[in-house]
């Protein structure tokens, strides 16, 4: 009798404990099975709940109903850092290009993040499907059929052709009028002509083989399609102040308060999946700490930024109530120790190769902290480049000081001692001394100084290479410094490590020196070949070969890539992680997330 009584109490306690420990998982009111969709049945239950038990408030019921009927609901407030992310601050047509952030304008396609080890992926926006000829000299895009501009004008292939022609016609620096020239006109340089066989098909004829044309359209900065019926009459586009912002995107321009706020609203006539959010307000916080405070307080629901929050600050946010953090692998910058291949001692390939075993990645990552992952490849990042990484070149630059010493000795370097400290004598008999300028992209979060600290331990302490100076130089003269020092650091954003095409970074191109002053004839030739190769298998083969050359020649030693941390209000909206990890930018993210709290409905 008493036994059962105690058992009962214990069970109650356990249930209570569980109830306390399990965080009240944010969910959409009425969505009982947690699939973020309120089905008709669930809605019926919710209505009954509301009427009888009063468990759901009227506002929550309204949210459930909007979800169930797929009607836009509520207001999302996004924090950005800088007024250039607000809507009319800068002309979209010339500065921002493709609308990864714009929400209003769309391009033909957008790039997605590949699955690890998987192929490249694109997502169609205004193009449903696309294909290229075998020689990649013509690209055909089949457009969506039901798209209309925000003012109701139907979208057709003529708009795409107009966009091309408009950029082409405004690429003449001698044209009269200060605003006639568009910097972005260079993007279509490789297009010979554009044809529209019908209203929903566009054919681009290229001047030369363009296997990555969709990529050109999608990124860096990419091109959005502009409405012919509006821009046709504008002669000076780069000084024209657009106040209507007519696009085809999931959100239409609402209003702006200069320098601080702008708003877009869900577009009823959108051709794709309509967004669940009715309004997206962008609010400018210039300071990262202010952004974080705003997120904590609930003033904003998401902090938008190219590389996310700084890792330490994201870490501190992790346990904050109602806040979720999405960690995007290699979403930030990737850092390398780079050589200037025509400055002694980096002129000696064996020297570079030897040092590739003298970079203690684990230790750098430990110093950098949260979110740093050592790079095991020769340049491309597996999380971004997918199947383009040559597996045979992985792990070649392992940390092994003994191996480094052996290779240095073989290359004619001589490790001696002086006053109890190791000194490396070069083949010329003089001590090896290097200078490392600090500046540029690698100085984010003082990463460069951390790398220097680790290099000093190994290079100075064990290999006898004296690091004489690490001057802090201005970004604007960094290139000049690179040219006269053997070693520097680089910290390019991930997108420079995501495609074999980006290996042209190491080509001595007709444009002149690359950052590494690297000049390998086979490599240069292979890049040229790659640029005119359309066949995917052939391209992969060339790509692998290129990476083998890099492994052999070591123009740079990859150190680590930084994960990006994005912070959002998980108690107000659901569905963040999938969209953030999948890529495609804010336009996709804000179209996919769903309101989960009636609070956001009351704001609007």
């Amino acid at each position: 009798m008493t036994g059962r009584y105690i058992q009962k109490i214990l069970v109650c306690c356990a249930v209570l404990l569980l109830a306390c420990c399990v965080p009240a998982a944010a969910g959409i009111p009425g969505d009982t099975d947690g699939d973020t969709v309120v089905s008709e049945k669930e809605l019926a239950t919710a209505i009954l709940d509301h009427l009888t038990a009063g468990r759901l408030s009227a506002d929550e019921l309204s949210l459930a109903a909007h979800n169930s009927l797929h009607l836009p609901y509520g207001q999302l407030v996004v924090a950005v850092a800088g007024d250039r992310y607000l809507i009319p601050a800068t002309s979209y047509i010339d500065q921002k290009g493709v609308p990864a952030d714009s929400l209003i304008y769309e391009g033909l396609v957008t790039k997605l993040r590949p699955k690890e080890g998987g192929p490249k992926e694109y997502l169609g926006w205004l193009a449903e499907r696309w294909e290229s000829s075998d020689d990649a000299m013509t690209w055909t895009f089949y457009l969506v059929r039901n798209a209309a501009w925000h003012d109701g004008t139907p979208f057709t292939s003529a708009d795409v052709r107009f966009t091309y022609e408009y950029f082409r016609d405004h690429g003449n620096p001698d044209a009269p009028g200060a605003g006639a020239y568009l910097v972005n006109s260079a993007i279509f340089k490789n297009v010979a002509s554009v044809e529209c066989p019908d209203d929903y098909t566009v054919v681009f004829h290229m001047k030369s083989c363009a296997p990555l044309f969709p990529e050109t359209l999608a990124t860096g900065p990419g091109i959005a399609v502009f409405p012919a019926h509006i821009w046709r009459d504008i002669d000076l586009p780069s000084t024209y102040i657009d106040t209507a912002h007519i696009g085809t995107g999931p959100f239409a321009y609402g209003s702006t308060i200069p320098g601080t706020l702008s708003k877009v609203t869900a577009y009823e006539g959108y051709h794709g999946e309509k967004p669940y959010v009715r309004e997206v307000v962008t609010k400018n916080y210039e300071d990262e700490d202010a952004q974080i405070l705003a997120l904590r307080r609930g003033d904003v629901d998401f902090i938008s930024g190219e590389f996310g929050l700084s890792p330490r600050k994201a870490e501190a946010l992790k346990d904050a109530p109602g806040i979720g953090i999405c960690r995007i692998p290699s979403g930030g910058q990737a850092f390398e120790v780079a050589f200037t291949s025509d400055v002694y001692p980096a002129t000696i390939p064996e020297f570079r190769r030897a040092l590739s075993h003298a970079v203690n990645r684990e230790r750098v990552c430990w110093l950098v902290g949260e979110g740093a992952r050592p790079t095991e490849t020769v340049f491309l990042l597996p999380a971004l480049a997918g199947d383009q990484v040559n597996p045979a070149t992985n792990g070649l630059f392992s940390y092994d000081i003994a191996e480094a010493k052996r290779q240095l000795a073989r290359a004619g370097f001589n490790l001696t001692e002086e006053n109890g400290r190791p000194v490396l004598l070069g083949p010329d008999g003089k001590p090896v001394e290097i200078t490392i300028p600090l500046a540029g992209k690698a100085s984010t979060n003082a990463v460069d100084q951390k790398i220097v600290a680790v290099l000093k331990e190994d290079w100075e302490g064990k290999l006898g290479i004296r690091i004489v100076e690490t001057p802090q130089v201005d970004d604007s003269v960094y290139l000049d410094w690179i040219a006269k020092t053997a070693v520097h650091f680089d910290g390019m954003p991930g997108r420079w490590h995501e495609d074999i095409d980006r290996l042209d970074n190491f080509q001595r191109s007709p444009l002149g020196e690359n950052y590494y002053h690297f000049d390998n004839e086979t490599f240069n030739g292979l890049i040229t070949e790659l640029k005119s190769t359309a066949d995917p298998d052939k391209r992969e083969e060339i790509g692998f070969e290129l990476q083998e050359i890099l492994a052999e020649e070591v123009p740079c030693i990859p150190v680590f890539s930084q994960d990006a941390f994005m912070a959002y209000r998980s108690d107000r909206f659901v569905g963040w992680d999938a969209a953030l990890l999948g890529g495609g930018g804010n336009i996709r993210l804000f179209s996919e997330i769903r309101p989960a709290s009636a609070e956001v409905g009351l704001r609007a």
Partner: protein, 326 residues
């Protein structure tokens, strides 16, 4: 006599303006790095030379430097200050917009700081050595010693975040997107930045006023006034205050001129779109036309403040007579 003086003053000011403008022009061209290369390198890693060339050609940056200088001077006087590279709108429009917001913060902050600085500085100097004086002096030293960035951030964290009394930044609430800008809402947003700016500048005014008051309080005419049997308040009002205020005229005019350069820290922490941040951004990306415009406006303000100080001084200090030498 005064007319001649004014004319002379205007001519020298004009000369100063021309010299400043020339120096600015030279300094801006000497700055390493340029807008288009930096912009393109951020996107493509390498700046395609043909695009750089085209851009420089469009904006006349490829012409001989002397020609650029002459065009710049002519344009400066014609009021044709060009378009900002980043904002793509006329430079004057951008500056005008930002100037309004800068002044909304700095006018009240400067006025309050000046009045308070003069008031408590005068009190402190008059009651030199008293408990209140020591307390005031020490708190001013402490405020002065706090790094401005940190002070601004602490004010934001305490008053906006923890006490939840004020918004966390910007100048209007999101509601303004539908209802338009409400002056009361702006005032609510301005409280913390104004408070911060006030704290930044009150110490300077306080120090100067206190030491000026110390000097004045030691003058014999103050002792005489006391010997005559005037009560303290009367001495302070009739004899001390006005004389101690003289050095403040210069300070105030220069603070007014300094106002338009804005305050980068406060504007960043409180996300207030003022001139300070604009200058910083323009400098960071080398937006030449915008920089030239901002510097021109700054020069004009400083020169105007100088003339104003010259004209105000004889009004407040009978010893100074303008144009006597003419």
């Amino acid at each position: 006599m005064n007319g001649i003086y004014l004319l002379k003053r205007l001519i020298t000011s004009f000369a100063a303006f021309c010299i400043a403008v020339t120096i600015m022009f030279a300094l801006l061209r000497l700055m390493p790095g340029d807008y288009i290369t930096m912009y393109l390198e951020a996107i493509y890693r390498y700046a395609p030379p043909d695009v750089v060339e085209a851009f420089n050609h469009v904006y006349g940056l490829d012409r001989p430097i002397l020609e650029q200088y002459v065009i710049y001077l002519l344009d400066a006087f014609r009021g044709n200050w060009g378009y900002s590279f980043i904002y793509k709108v006329p430079v004057l429009t951008v500056i005008g917009e930002r100037l309004v917001w800068t002044l909304i913060l700095l006018l009240p902050a400067t006025i309050l700081a000046t009045l308070a600085g003069i008031g408590i500085g005068a009190y402190s100097g008059w009651r030199r050595g008293s408990k209140t004086d020591i307390a005031l002096l020490n708190s001013m030293i402490i405020i002065r010693a706090i790094p401005s960035y940190w002070l601004a951030l602490m004010i934001l964290i305490i008053f906006a975040y923890y006490l939840n009394l004020f918004p966390l930044g910007g100048y209007v609430d999101t509601g303004a997107l539908t209802t338009g800008i409400d002056p009361l809402d702006v005032a609510n947003h301005a409280v913390l930045p104004v408070l911060t700016l006030f704290l930044f500048s009150v110490t300077g005014t306080y120090y100067l006023m206190r030491s000026s008051m110390l000097m004045t309080a030691g003058e014999d005419y103050i002792t005489t006034a006391r010997a005559k049997g005037l009560d303290e308040l009367m001495i302070l009002r009739k004899h001390a205050l006005k004389n101690a205020m003289l050095p403040m005229v210069t300070l105030i005019t220069f603070e007014c001129a300094g106002m338009i350069t804005g305050s980068i820290f406060v504007e960043t922490i409180f996300s207030w779109p003022g001139l300070g941040m604009l200058t910083y951004k323009a400098l960071a990306v080398r937006d030449l036309p915008l920089l030239q415009g901002i510097l021109l406006i700054d020069t004009l303000f400083v020169i105007a403040a100088n003339i104003a100080a010259d004209l105000i001084y004889p009004l407040v200090d009978p010893r100074v007579q303008v144009g006597d030498d003419a």
